[in-house]
């Protein structure tokens, strides 16, 4: 027995005695999410975007912390012509891709065309389709042009049916190809109408506008640049994309490995970069899902950057060598919106009648009900207690920092007296007499949604003993599914900017074709398509559409403010808060700066000084 212990002790000694010191050229970024894909035209999440940001480059980039000011990147300069319908970018010379190819204007043209053709379902390419063609998808475009649905034009083997082949070919030759053209050293984009957010859609950080090496892309099996087979490269499954796990950009970092088992992405500095090579030579982005483990690694100094959920912040606050930056502006909002025409077979509206045992499907079509709800919410408590101060109030579903924002616009305050008044007026006083019963859902794990729903329950039930709100947690797929199909009376939902432009928010929440506007029912659609006096006889939809084609920022500001006023006076939704960000890294990390549109970190800017 003694011998065994001796061996164990010896082994232990050897094991403990082995430790390696950190070095200033390697950075470990501890995070929770893992990239979805390396294909810039499929990636639509922050984790993928972060890798693509560091590996690929776009024509232009945001100037430091600004989201409205642009600087050249792969383009050296640009011109906006035709009153905002034509953009001309001069392409930088002497730039090399990681695998050795030279950057040419043809690469730029190819990259955008390949993206437009690929246009994967649920991907980001709708932004370029909207900007260039005024419609949000390739399939939508085909259907609009020819009156036949895209899927009917393609047979089960993915080949174009003979009778439609010419039409499909013309989609490329007559539309996609002429939209983006090479002119000498420049690439020209032709838009069907002026589109204010176009520059933001192109800027570094928008992975969908990253520039690929055409020769390399064709070689690995991407679209071959031909007009007569393009449909074979349209909407292929994520993992079937040739760019799913490989990358070849012009950026400051090369992708060394995407280890999907350990959720680790390894980047290495590109020593042939056209600017100075990066100071940090190796970057490891490591997904460590368990907070306690991540925290231990970070505190020990085995990580330089760490994702810290707000509720755990107090655990590392005040520790030496850790830098915490709070209250960073994000370009996102969370809002509660009403369903004006709930499906009558919904399980969440009780009897479905105004009899005290449920609510009628058009419950929220009554302006007084919406106003009453808007008054019955303690906005400040929500921000202070649930978000731990990491949020701020906004007048409508538009975050601070974008055109159209104005802190002086009217907002609903928390006022139960006014809520009571409004409830008394609703349904000509019937509601107050009979009461109601309804269910609000949240997805389990989403404490913000849960608290918001419980808060409404708490205050509204105080007003009248006949008012009953049940709050229930479901899995998030159920939550999404039920709200989308119109079964939920009201839903709380956030939006993170795709590009920093008000259109991205206002259209989404308030236009009846917006993703969330769409879910607010037929009565809502009726409302926003009816001319309003306060909008000078225009409909809300119209104003939103006109605002995006307007290039004068002052006029846009005015137009969006007029939308905001309608949102307030008609209580179209409750903007709950704009979340504020949190950043935690070791204090030896230098060079970090905040840009709310950047997915993750810009490792190129960093250095480590122990």
């Amino acid at each position: 027995m003694r011998k065994v212990w001796a061996i164990v002790a010896l082994m232990a000694l050897a094991v403990f005695g082995f430790a390696v010191k950190g070095d200033p050229t390697t950075l470990v970024d501890l995070t929770i999410s893992e990239p979805d894909t390396m294909d810039p035209h499929y990636a639509y999440d922050t984790a993928s975007g972060e890798v693509i940001y560091n590996v690929y480059e776009n024509l232009i980039a945001y100037n430091g912390e600004s989201v409205t000011d642009f600087v050249p990147r792969l383009a050296t300069k640009w011109e906006v012509l035709d009153g905002g319908k034509t953009y001309k970018f001069y392409i930088r010379k002497g730039v090399k891709f990681h695998l050795g190819g030279d950057l040419t204007p043809e690469d730029v043209e190819y990259s955008f065309e390949r993206g437009l053709i690929f246009d994967p379902a649920g991907g980001p390419m709708w932004m370029l389709w909207e900007a260039l063609f005024g419609i949000d998808s390739l399939e939508g475009f085909v259907e609009e042009k020819f009156g036949v649905s895209y899927s009917d034009m393609i047979d089960e083997n993915g080949e174009a049916k003979p009778e439609y082949k010419d039409k499909l070919v013309s989609v490329y030759t007559d539309y996609i190809d002429p939209a983006i053209e090479v002119e000498g050293d420049a690439v020209v984009f032709h838009l069907v109408r002026p589109f204010a957010p176009f520059m933001a859609i192109l800027a570094q950080g928008s992975s969908w506008s990253a520039v690929l090496d055409k020769e390399w892309a064709v070689e690995v099996g991407c679209w071959d640049g031909k007009a007569d087979t393009w449909w074979k490269y349209h909407d292929i499954q994520k993992e079937k994309s040739p760019l799913y796990a490989v990358a070849n950009g012009t950026g400051p970092y090369k992708l060394v490995e995407w280890d999907r088992t350990q959720q680790k992405v390894t980047l290495e500095a590109n020593e042939n970069y056209w600017r100075e090579p990066a100071k940090i030579k190796k970057v490891v982005i490591w997904g460590v899902d368990e907070w306690a483990t991540r925290r231990a690694l970070f505190e020990k100094g085995d990580g330089d950057v760490c994702y810290v959920p707000a509720q755990f912040l107090s655990q590392i606050e005040g520790k030496e060598g850790i830098e915490i930056i709070k209250g960073l502006p994000t370009i996102s909002v969370t809002a509660l919106h009403f369903n004006w025409s709930i499906k009558s077979d919904s399980k969440y509206i009780g009897s479905g009648k105004l009899d005290g045992e449920g609510i009628p499907p058009d419950f929220f079509s009554d302006e007084h009900v919406r106003k009453a709800f808007s008054y019955a919410f303690n906005y400040d408590a929500m921000i202070l207690q649930v978000l731990r101060g990491l949020g701020k109030r906004v007048p409508y579903a538009l975050p601070e920092g974008l055109i159209g924002y104005n802190p002086d616009l009217p907002m609903y305050e928390f006022n139960l007296l006014k809520a009571r008044e409004e409830f008394k007026k609703a349904f000509n006083g019937e509601l107050w007499k009979k009461g109601f019963k309804m269910t609000l859902l949240y997805n389990t794990g989403n404490s913000a949604r849960q608290t918001a729903a419980e808060m409404l329950k708490f205050y509204i039930e105080q007003l009248n003993p006949k008012f009953k709100i049940e709050v229930r947690g479901v899995q998030w797929p159920t939550y999404l599914d039920t709200y989308r199909k119109g079964y939920l009376p009201a839903f709380i939902i956030g939006w993170l900017a795709d590009y920093p432009d008000p259109h991205n928010f206002i259209f989404t929440y308030y236009h009846s074709n917006g993703v969330y506007g769409h879910s607010q029912g037929e009565n809502y659609e009726k409302f926003v398509t009816t001319p309003l006096e306060e909008l000078g006889g225009k409909t809300l939809n119209q104003v939103i559409e006109e605002a995006v084609a307007e290039t004068d920022p002052a006029k846009r500001q005015e137009m969006y403010e007029s939308v905001a006023k309608v949102v307030y006076s008609r209580a179209l939704g409750m903007a709950l808060y704009q979340p504020l960000g949190l950043r935690v890294h070791r204090s030896w990390l230098k060079g970090w700066y905040h840009n709310p549109m950047r997915p993750g970190d810009d490792y190129y800017a960093y250095s480590i000084e122990f």
């Binding site: 082995f18 379902a121 649920g122 999907r260 368990e290 483990t293 231990a296 690694l297 989308r484 993703v515």
Partner: protein
């Protein structure tokens, strides 16, 4: 005995068929809308319009009836293709192949401390029945058994990593990983630590061990109680048997009595429990893997289940059922070896 083994093995495909059909059926009961959630990340899904959702469902064939989908799945499995793992972000087979070695490695190293020490403690307690040693061992074990595993895992991590800096989480250190993944490193057995030794990379071997100590410590203490108590009570029962008294009476020394006569006979119930434990270890220990950030099969299947990634779950089901059937077969064979009176027919 051979006939028995063959018969049992022939049952395996049947078991696999039954289990996969049940699990697959359960999954499909969720309906296409929920299954779709596996294919899109939550933040993105909130942004999709209903038309796009439909496009997605068609693209992944989620609207097909259960029988069609199961048929597609089983026929591709028979062709050796387990499908695409959404959680692993690569084919299920290779995703599992990359994780199983880490689980097997942990199971292998944990085997000695968990089973060996567990039995040893049990025997020690039984022999010193009702003495302070017995009480101490029992209290010590019960405390371990009563601890939730994630709490104890975190304790181990805090003490041995955060405070002492000895046993970091993860599979191995960055520098070791670089060597491990280099082209010069030959992957012979698939088990990282053994391969490191075979490649003569003693540093990498030690680094692997360093990352294994925490999980092993956690698993051991948590599982000792169970094994120890079975061993102890089984041992106590045997020690009261006539033949033990006879053995003592004929003047054998205590050591021989306990090791040769008593312990072996007390092993039957212990084998059942230990076998189940080994099967459990091989299936992966979800919590321990999560706390120590090890990429084993347990956390893989658990994540897959929470994200409704049915292809990965089905792969896991195949793996678990195979291990379970083979494991139980081995346990049965061990019975026969330990106790010659048991015949496998």
């Amino acid at each position: 005995m051979t006939a028995y083994i063959i018969r049992r093995l022939l049952l395996l495909p049947l078991v696999l068929f039954g289990i996969t059909l049940i699990v697959f059926g359960l999954f499909q009961m969720l309906g296409p809308d929920k299954l779709l959630s596996a294919y899109i990340n939550p933040n993105l899904a909130e942004k999709l319009s209903p038309e796009e959702m439909e496009r997605f469902k068609d693209k992944y064939g989620l609207n097909d009836p259960l029988i069609v989908r199961y048929g597609k799945w089983i026929s591709s499995v028979l062709r050796g293709d387990l499908g695409w793992s959404l959680v692993g972000k690569e084919p299920v087979a290779s995703a599992m192949a990359k994780r199983i070695p880490f689980t097997v490695e942990l199971a292998l190293y944990a085997l000695v401390p968990v089973v060996g020490v567990g039995i040893w403690l049990g025997v020690a307690a039984a022999v010193r029945h009702n003495s302070p040693v017995d009480h101490f061992i029992r209290i010590f074990a019960i405390v371990g058994w009563s601890f939730p595993d994630f709490v104890f895992g975190l304790f181990v991590l805090m003490i041995f990593y955060s405070v002492l800096g000895w046993f970091p989480p993860g599979n191995m250190s960055l520098w070791a990983e670089e060597i491990f993944k280099s082209s010069a490193f030959k992957h012979i057995t698939g088990l990282p630590s053994i391969d490191a030794l075979l490649n003569g990379q003693f540093g990498v071997f030690l680094d692997c061990l360093r990352h294994l100590v925490g999980p092993i410590l956690t698993i051991s203490w948590l599982w000792w109680a169970y094994l120890l108590r079975i061993t102890r009570s089984s041992m106590l029962e045997v020690l009261r048997k006539d033949y033990v008294r006879t053995a003592r009476a004929k003047g054998l020394d205590e050591r021989t009595v306990i090791n040769k006569h008593a312990r072996r006979n007390a092993m039957i119930p212990v084998t059942t429990v230990a076998g189940a434990m080994i099967i459990g270890l091989l299936s992966g220990t979800v919590i321990v893997e999560a706390v120590f950030n090890r990429t084993g099969i347990g956390s893989f299947v658990a994540t897959a289940a929470t994200q409704l990634d049915y292809a990965s779950v089905m792969g896991g089901v195949l793996f678990y059922s195979t291990i379970l059937v083979l494991g139980n077969l081995i346990i049965d064979i061990l019975y026969a070896i330990i106790d010659p009176r048991i015949r496998l027919t």
